[in-house]
């Protein structure tokens, strides 16, 4: 279980700004700015951060929905960045995605059965029609739906049921890695737990590996084996779940954790909160030195001058902070 399934090295993705030809030479948005991590086979890596931190772009680069500006993405030993479209096709089967909004990611004019059968046909996984119908029924049952759901349209299902269809569609390709991009944040609270349990069951049954991208720190703690925290295109801390939540070293991770409201008024009344000053700066003009320093409660002069590297602070616990 310790073999690396995915290795990301120094991933950089810059987007040119503005539609005009001339503006393209201007400073780009540094959406992902030197991100490295490894996911071992069978584990779940949680990727957390606020909007605009680059977590979704990181996922899209792994899925090869975006071509990275630089860096290497090794999946089962192949560097995806160097592969052409043709060579990528078999890889695309092995790396699947579950999106946040199961409504906008399902074709409203296709039945659930058609949505699930199409990739089986296109990729030649199940060539005959009868076989595909049987596989669709099997997939529906696997994600907790009924075979008769195959005849329904997306709008006839609830949000939770639609997300189950999204999961079934990913499973249809028999993937090794699934990038889950905010898979429960559009769902009602009472349904979120159902979907998380389903993802966990499928992982243990099928030996899946997950990159779980989310902003909800409680959900990420529940599902992840290891967790990486991103801020303005960089990983600021990465460690196993227990260490990251019980002994975070980066001031940003600490602030994030203290901002999560806890459903218990007595605890909340006693709880000290670090409310961060200011807002996330623009990725167009990241601050000098440590990108977090303008909001950091413990920043020193050095932090504005010199960018900290992600270094191993304790065994298998990495942080990017001069003062950690």
């Amino acid at each position: 279980m310790t073999e690396a399934l995915l290795e990301v090295h120094d991933l950089v993705k810059h987007f040119p700004v503005g539609g005009a030809m001339l503006a393209r030479s201007a400073t780009p948005v540094r959406a992902v700015d030197g991100v490295s991590f490894t996911i071992r086979r069978g584990e779940t890596l949680g990727l957390v951060g606020e909007s605009g931190c680059g977590k979704t772009t990181t996922g899209r680069c792994i899925l090869q929905l975006e071509r990275p500006t630089s860096g290497r993405i090794l999946f089962e030993g192949l560097d995806l960045v160097t592969l052409g479209e043709e060579a990528l096709r078999p890889v695309r089967r092995r790396v699947q995605v579950i999106f946040q909004d199961p409504y906008s990611s399902l074709n409203p004019r296709m039945t659930i059965g058609q949505i699930l059968a199409e990739p089986l046909k296109v990729h030649g996984i199940v060539p005959d029609r009868q076989g595909r119908a049987a596989r669709v029924r099997e997939l529906l049952v696997q994600v907790g739906l009924l075979p008769q759901h195959a005849g329904r349209y997306p709008h006839q299902l609830s949000g939770g049921q639609r997300q189950r269809v999204g999961i079934a569609r990913a499973l249809a390709m028999e993937p090794a890695l699934i990038v889950c991009d905010e898979p429960v944040s559009a769902l009602d609270v009472s349904i979120q737990a159902q979907i998380i349990n389903l993802l966990e069951d499928l992982q243990s049954r099928l030996g899946l590996t997950y990159l779980f991208i989310a902003h909800d720190l409680s959900v990420v703690r529940h599902i992840s084996d290891r967790v990486a925290v991103m801020y303005l295109g960089r990983i600021v801390e990465i460690a196993d779940r227990k260490t990251l939540y019980e002994a975070p070293v980066h001031p940003y991770t600490k602030a994030l954790l203290s901002a999560v409201p806890i459903p218990d008024p007595r605890l909340e009344a006693r709880r000290e909160r670090t409310v961060l000053r200011g807002e996330v700066p623009s990725a167009l003009k990241p601050p000098s030195g440590c990108v977090f320093h303008p909001r950091c409660p413990i920043a020193e002069a050095r932090c504005a001058a010199e960018a900290p590297n992600l270094r191993e602070i304790k065994s298998a616990h990495w942080g990017a902070c001069h003062l950690a």
Partner: protein, 330 residues
Amino acid sequence: MATLLEVRNLKTSFLSAAGTVRAVDGVSWDVEAGETVALVGESGCGKSVSALSIMRLVAEPAGRIEGGEILYKGRDLLKLSEEEMRAVRGRDIAMIFQEPMTSLNPVLSIGRQLTEGLEIHMKMNPAQARARAIELLAMVGIPDPERRLAQYPHHFSGGMRQRMMIAMALACNPSLILADEPTTALDVTIQAQILELMRDLARRLGVAMLIITHNLGVVARYADRVNVMYAGRIIERARAGELYANPRHPYTLGLLRSVPRLDEPRRARLDPIEGQPPDLTRLPPGCSFAPRCTYRVERCTESAPPLAALGAEHCSACWEAQRLVRERAA
């Protein structure tokens, strides 16, 4: 404390292709002067429609307030003329929405959006209104307020826009603010900033607040009293501390159990509420939660339980509430 707003047996429904949806189905609750009350529930439970009904902003003709009373300082808002109602909106009762970008006018300057209400409701002249606008922006923590007045909503970040919404809500010294998911669209660290700001201002200015949210954590920190809604009805009501310590409705209990919590050891498995949210056009007879409820008995599928008192300031709409309390005590 005096009762500021009293909603009695409110019924609001919508016509849809699939039939009549009773979005709010005979709901009663109140807010006392200066306190913060929460309406909590999942999408479609009727919490937002409750707030829109109070403001009389339910979109007609599809939507209709079918009955009940909304007593604001003793006066029934449902009986006011449209003109009288316009004087209440924004002055006595203000509203903050989830999406500040869609509720601000993109082609009016920040200054104009603040001063318009002041000139209309408070009869201020432009100079007075401008001075008050600067004061308001400073109060909600927007730096350099004089320069900001000339800017437009797209110049503001999401957090700044929500501060601006709060400034607009406070402009005419309302006694009640209805905040519909005020921080749901914001990042966690900004959420914390905005919620702290709202609480501090509400306390300092003595404004009552109705917070509408799906987030049980937000409610725990900021509400004095909580109403939990499901399928158009209130199913439980208590003081915040009491509700979290002793939930007395299977739905509330299920919600609290289903969320992973940072203050507790990680559980091997989450405990979801099984089944799907109710289809409001086809509600089952009896209790709407019965199909998903682990405490269900035969009676639950036959008649809907009323919201009944269970001890001081705690009500639950469940036939099996006593058993739930006994089992949890054991």
